[in-house]
């Protein structure tokens, strides 16, 4: 199974139909294990049981960036390699990525309420995720603004790549801005100091959510291919109707000229 094989949408539909059930099953199994493990993870000595929010917050935050990465690779595929499925992949990923980013924001603010005392703190991480969310929404607005999918695809590809270059810069500036205004950051959890009891469920959940994304993404790509097929068929139908009505008006004009003569 190479990228060339996948370039044909019909082959992609056939292959993905075979892969999807397995992916879905693996997602369900891993999610079940991850949820079980996170339910029985011990309480943190500082944060108590609220540490359980981390098991959904962190995978979603990771996915919010991972999905932008996937879209950037797909955008390169659109602009450089002109892979026929690249814009389908980019378009299908955007709403899913936006949903995960929204979840990261929501769980982050729910996690922050017990720790900060407010739902929203202009904390560096949350702020950069918020900006990322705005960029996802802008990208989706761009996809929706244009009727022709391939024209929208190229514009979205440029924007996605510019965003990918800018995201580290934005992250850096927000971090810098945050240290300027708020010297003591409340949320400190270095990856290395994380206890094994938290790390294993977190990893399982991260893998499970990534699989969830892959499953949803492939399914959404299939829908997008079908939607484009519907669109082209409808346009064929419309042109056929237009053609036949064209013939009709033509003959009518002929009659009219005959009558005038």
């Amino acid at each position: 199974m190479t990228l060339i094989d996948l370039a044909n949408p019909t082959r992609f539909l056939a292959l993905s139909a075979r892969v999807l059930p397995w992916l879905a099953a693996a997602t369900v199994i891993l999610l079940t294990i991850g949820l079980y493990q996170s339910a029985y993870a011990p309480d943190d000595y500082q944060q108590g049981a609220t540490v359980k929010i981390m098991f959904i917050h962190v995978p979603n935050a990771w996915l919010s960036m991972f999905v932008w990465g996937v879209m950037s690779v797909a955008s390169l595929g659109t602009l450089v390699w002109r892979h026929p499925l690249a814009d389908v992949a980019a378009k299908a990923a955007a709403p899913i990525g936006a949903s995960f980013t929204f979840l990261a924001l929501l769980t982050g603010s729910l996690w922050g309420r017990p720790m900060w005392g407010t739902y929203w703190e202009w904390d560096a991480r949350l702020t950069s995720v918020l900006i990322l969310f705005l960029m996802y929404l802008g990208l989706m607005a761009l996809w929706r603004a244009v009727e022709d999918p391939s024209r929208a695809a190229r514009a979205a590809a440029v924007l996605t790549l510019v965003g990918a270059i800018n995201l580290p810069i934005i992250k850096f500036s927000v971090d810098w801005w945050n240290t300027l205004h708020q010297p003591a950051s409340v949320m400190r959890m270095g990856g290395s100091t994380l206890d094994k009891a938290f790390l294993i469920p977190l990893l399982v959940m991260a893998v499970a959510f990534t699989l969830l994304f892959v499953t949803l993404h492939i399914a959404a790509m299939r829908n997008e291919i079908l939607r484009r097929r519907v669109r082209s068929l409808q346009m064929m139908q419309a042109s056929r109707i237009a053609f036949s009505s064209d013939v009709g008006t033509g003959s009518r004009q002929e009659n009219a000229s005959k009558g005038a003569a």
Binding site: L79, I131, L134, M135, L137, G138, L139, A141, L142, A145, V146, R151, A152, R154, A155, A157, V158, L159, L161, V162, G163, I165, N166, I169, I170, F172, S173, V174, W176, W177, L180
Partner: protein, 222 residues
């Protein structure tokens, strides 16, 4: 080189003549800044504290709104097709257009800053700091906004969509621009660090902007 110089000269002349939008940007800047005291109250001390932020926000919005037509007018009268087909690399032509736009619409904003600083109760040092950061920072806004203008012309959409796409990308410039001016006025922080990062951002956008805009025009126009 002469082609680029001719392009710059032409764009500036179009922007400054009757019907060009360059000076409306300054008027918009003035209006936004005048609106601010009605929102936050006429307390002079508070205005002086918020002054750099207000001036930066006004300049950000003004330079974004004037950018809307950067490629649109050329697309309508067909000269954009000539520019894309000419022998000069499209990236350089885009950079030239952005430079012309900045000279016609960005520089007047900076010239207007001292007057507006007076209205906001900023002293000489503060006004100078804001003007200097605007001088260094507005090219970054123009060159980032150019990407949005190029997308807008290929999509036949302008206005709000472009603003929504470009504003998140200009957050770093806003952060370091305001931080540098604040540092010069009150801050314990040194002026140098944020100011040099602002310069770096401008240089980065000088590279990214023309390439992204040219890519968007190349792939998007048909």
């Amino acid at each position: 080189m002469t082609a680029l110089a001719a392009l710059i000269r032409r764009d500036i002349r179009i922007a400054l003549r009757v019907g060009g939008g360059a000076l409306i940007g300054v008027l918009f800047f003035l209006t936004v800044v005048v609106l601010m005291p009605f929102a936050v109250g006429p307390d002079l001390a508070q205005l002086a504290r918020l002054g750099p932020a207000i001036l930066w926000l006004g300049a950000l919005l003004a330079s974004l709104l004037t950018l809307d037509r950067l490629f649109m007018a050329d697309h309508e009268d067909g000269s954009l097709d000539l520019i894309t087909m000419s022998r000069t690399p499209l990236e350089l032509a885009c950079a030239a257009k952005a430079l012309a736009h900045w000279l016609a619409a960005g520089l007047p904003l900076i010239v207007a800053t001292p007057v507006l600083g007076l209205l906001l109760n900023l002293d000489m040092v503060a006004t100078g700091a804001v003007a200097l950061t605007l001088l260094v920072g507005t090219p970054a806004l123009t060159f980032t906004g150019m990407i949005g203008a190029a997308l807008a012309v290929t999509l036949h959409r302008g206005g709000l969509l472009m603003a929504v796409l470009v504003l998140p990308l200009s957050i770093p410039v806003l952060i370091f621009g305001v931080a540098a001016s604040q540092a010069a006025i009150t801050g314990p922080l040194s002026f140098g660090a944020p100011f040099s990062i602002l310069c770096a951002l401008s240089l980065v956008s000088l590279v990214i902007g023309p390439f992204a805009a040219a890519a968007s025009l190349k792939h998007g126009l048909d």
